[in-house]
């Protein structure tokens, strides 16, 4: 078998543009490729690619393989797998970087098992072992209570990377690269699932992933009401968004789209205000990248205080309204 060379980023598009996670993967992939003195490839698939291939080059790719096909409008595993498998077999990259996203979570295990290779999901750090040239893949385990570093000698080495764990390069539109249109005959008869309906449950207002300030409620807020009243009031005056831990989402107090954590959204705002949040590792996994965590909790032993920069020990029903009112006064002054 030919020697495996190069690093391949599996790219994603959101609203016709390169997704933030893809720019992060390209940033990380660029460093790895430079260290290996090899190329950085990017695969982009969509019904309409627009400027995304050029963006991929501006963010670090050497060669962008593009597949544009009307059947790629929505992600469907059996469809996208055909493209990924074919390209990976032709390119024989050393490593494949995917996002720990809705698509990456679904596609990466299928691809790794199809190729018969190893996979580390949700990686926080990637580096090259100077001796073996293998990818050192570090990821959280036990709900974030520990981390583990894995390697695999099987090529290609496949990983998914957590959102916001890596930094993109500064966009450079003068970077040179090659866009290669790739022909893949998609065999629709091999697509065994049928999407019959897509329902959006979008939350009005500032998107969680983009919000500079997030006010998050935990199980301890006690029910759906505070998410619409006290927490929302605070988020509104700070032009932020309201989030939740897993129990409020599972209990139906809030839509799943508001769930922050290991299996929900990963956020990294400037200020993260955790209200009646105990700080389970699975939740912290989704917000530990925040620049400043503020905790309000009645239990002084709550784990969230280990993550927080500032905190108040007290019942949130008493602390929060006073905090919000004082803040309003200070912001007005």
């Amino acid at each position: 078998m030919a020697e495996n060379k190069g690093v391949l980023v599996y790219g994603e598009l959101i609203d016709g543009k390169l997704a933030a996670i893809t720019t992060e993967l390209l940033g990380c992939g660029r460093k790895l490729a430079d260290e290996l003195k090899e190329d950085l490839f990017c695969l982009l698939t969509s019904d309409m690619l627009g400027e995304a291939p050029k963006e991929a080059i501006a963010f670090g790719a050497d060669k962008v393989y593009v597949v544009e096909d009307p059947s790629l409008k929505q992600y469907q595993a059996d469809c996208h797998m055909q493209i990924a498998e074919k390209l990976v077999k032709e390119l024989s990259p050393r490593a494949i970087l995917m996002g720990q996203t809705s698509i990456g979570r679904d596609l990466a295990p299928r691809l790794a098992f199809r190729l018969g290779v190893g996979l580390a999901t949700d990686c926080l750090e990637l580096s090259i072992d100077p001796e073996t040239k293998l990818l050192l893949q570090t990821r959280p385990v036990y709900g974030g209570n520990a981390q583990a570093t894995f390697t695999s000698e099987l090529m290609p080495q496949v990983v998914t990377v957590r959102a916001k764990a890596m930094s993109p390069m500064e966009r450079d539109d003068s970077r040179k690269g090659e866009v290669i249109a790739t022909k893949v005959e998609i065999d629709i008869s091999k697509v065994r699932t049928k999407i019959v309906e897509t329902i959006k449950e979008e939350i009005a207002g500032v998107k969680l992933e983009d919000a500079p300030v997030i006010v998050t409620g935990g199980r301890g807020v006690g029910g759906p009401e505070p998410f619409k009243t006290t927490l929302k009031e605070l988020a509104d005056i700070l032009h932020g968004a309201v989030g939740a831990t897993r129990p409020p989402a599972d209990n139906g107090w809030v839509p799943e789209a508001m769930h922050i954590g290991l299996t929900g959204k990963i956020v990294a705002p400037d200020v993260y205000i955790a209200v009646a949040v105990s700080g389970a590792s699975q939740h912290v996994a989704g917000c530990s990248g925040s620049k400043n965590i503020i905790a309000i909790n009645k239990d002084p032993e709550a784990n969230i205080f280990k993550e927080a920069k500032f905190g108040v020990v007290g019942k949130y029903e008493e602390v929060l309204p006073a905090f919000t009112n004082k803040l309003k006064e200070l912001l007005a002054g």
Binding site: S102, R105, D106, P109, R110, A112, F113, G118, L119, T121, D122, V141, Y142, G143, N145, A146, Q147, A148, T149, F150, T151, S152, R192, T193, K194, I195, V196, E197, T198, I199, E201, R246, D250, A257, T263, D270, S281, N292, I294, N303, K306, E307, A308, K309, F310, G311, V312, V313, G314, E318, V319, P321, A322, F323, T324, N325, K326, L327, L330, L331
Partner: protein, 267 residues
């Protein structure tokens, strides 16, 4: 037998709800104090609940499948107590120290031996290694379709209709049997076992299979069958320095917090 034939993967793990402070790494292994009891990993419990709801509605048979070594009978027989009809344990020293690959391979091999099935349910990921690979891996090995992150599953005319969670919403997916489905927590918690179920489960004995019973070569089992190597398990040191803001009353502490955050130019 009329109805659907469902297999559910039930992995035994250390209780993920145990306080973070009790998780300690020693000698590249996670160690927990003996009072932290193992449980069926929560997402596999959601998967079991999905299976029970389908059995309630259209009838059928549920086989719970677990893998490991020295599995605690009280923990793993919970599947029978809530309504699974049969429990198969892949249990042997050799199954220890496996990774997603060797686990999925052993489970897929066992499922082939079991023969007929319509639906295979797995939790979206297990709370020990959080990899989220085994379910989709089993489907790849068996060559059957898979749908991940299901929050609702209905069975209509030999087909499954699945609500699959996607960013900011869900999509409804239809797929013919057999299909593997990974289940997420929004589906709902596993029901409590009724006393009658607990008593019936106590009388049932699980079927035990060793690697040789499912024709697994030693090179494919547990540590020997791994595709990944665990180089290091560690716990990053966290510097806890939370500034606790005080006040005469909780409300005053809240006001003082606002003032402190303004002073620190955070808000």
């Amino acid at each position: 037998m009329p109805g659907v034939n469902i297999i559910v993967w039930c992995k035994q793990v250390p209780d993920p709800e145990a306080p973070p402070a009790v998780f300690k790494v020693a000698g590249n292994k996670m160690t927990l104090p003996p009072d932290v009891k193992p449980v069926i990993t929560p997402y596999d419990e959601n998967a079991l609940e999905a299976a029970l709801r389908i059995k309630d509605k259209v009838g059928g048979k549920i086989t719970a499948l677990s893998l490991g070594n020295k599995l605690i009978r009280d923990v793993i027989k919970k599947s029978l107590a809530v309504g699974a009809d049969e429990l198969i344990l892949l249990e042997d020293d050799a199954f220890e120290e496996g990774d997603s690959w060797s686990t999925a391979y052993a489970l897929a091999t066992a499922i082939k031996k079991m023969g007929e099935y319509d639906l295979i349910f797995c939790g979206r990921q297990a709370s020990d290694w959080d990899a989220g690979q085994v379910g989709l891996g089993i489907a790849e090995i068996l060559g059957i379709p898979a749908v991940s992150l299901a929050r609702k599953i209905e069975v209509i005319d030999g087909k499954a209709r699945i609500e699959r969670v996607i960013p900011d919403g869900y999509e409804a997916v239809e797929v013919a049997f057999p299909v593997l489905i990974t289940v997420t927590s929004e589906l709902g918690d596993l029901r409590y076992a009724a006393l009658k179920g607990i008593m019936a489960a106590a009388k049932k004995q699980p079927t035990l299979w060793k690697p040789a019973d499912i024709q697994l070569e030693p090179s494919q089992v547990g540590a020997a069958g791994r595709h990944t190597k665990l180089n290091k398990l560690f716990q990053p040191v966290k510097e806890a320095k939370c500034e606790i803001i005080e006040g005469e009353t909780p409300a005053e502490a809240g006001e003082n917090l606002a003032a402190r955050l303004r002073e620190a130019k955070l808000l």
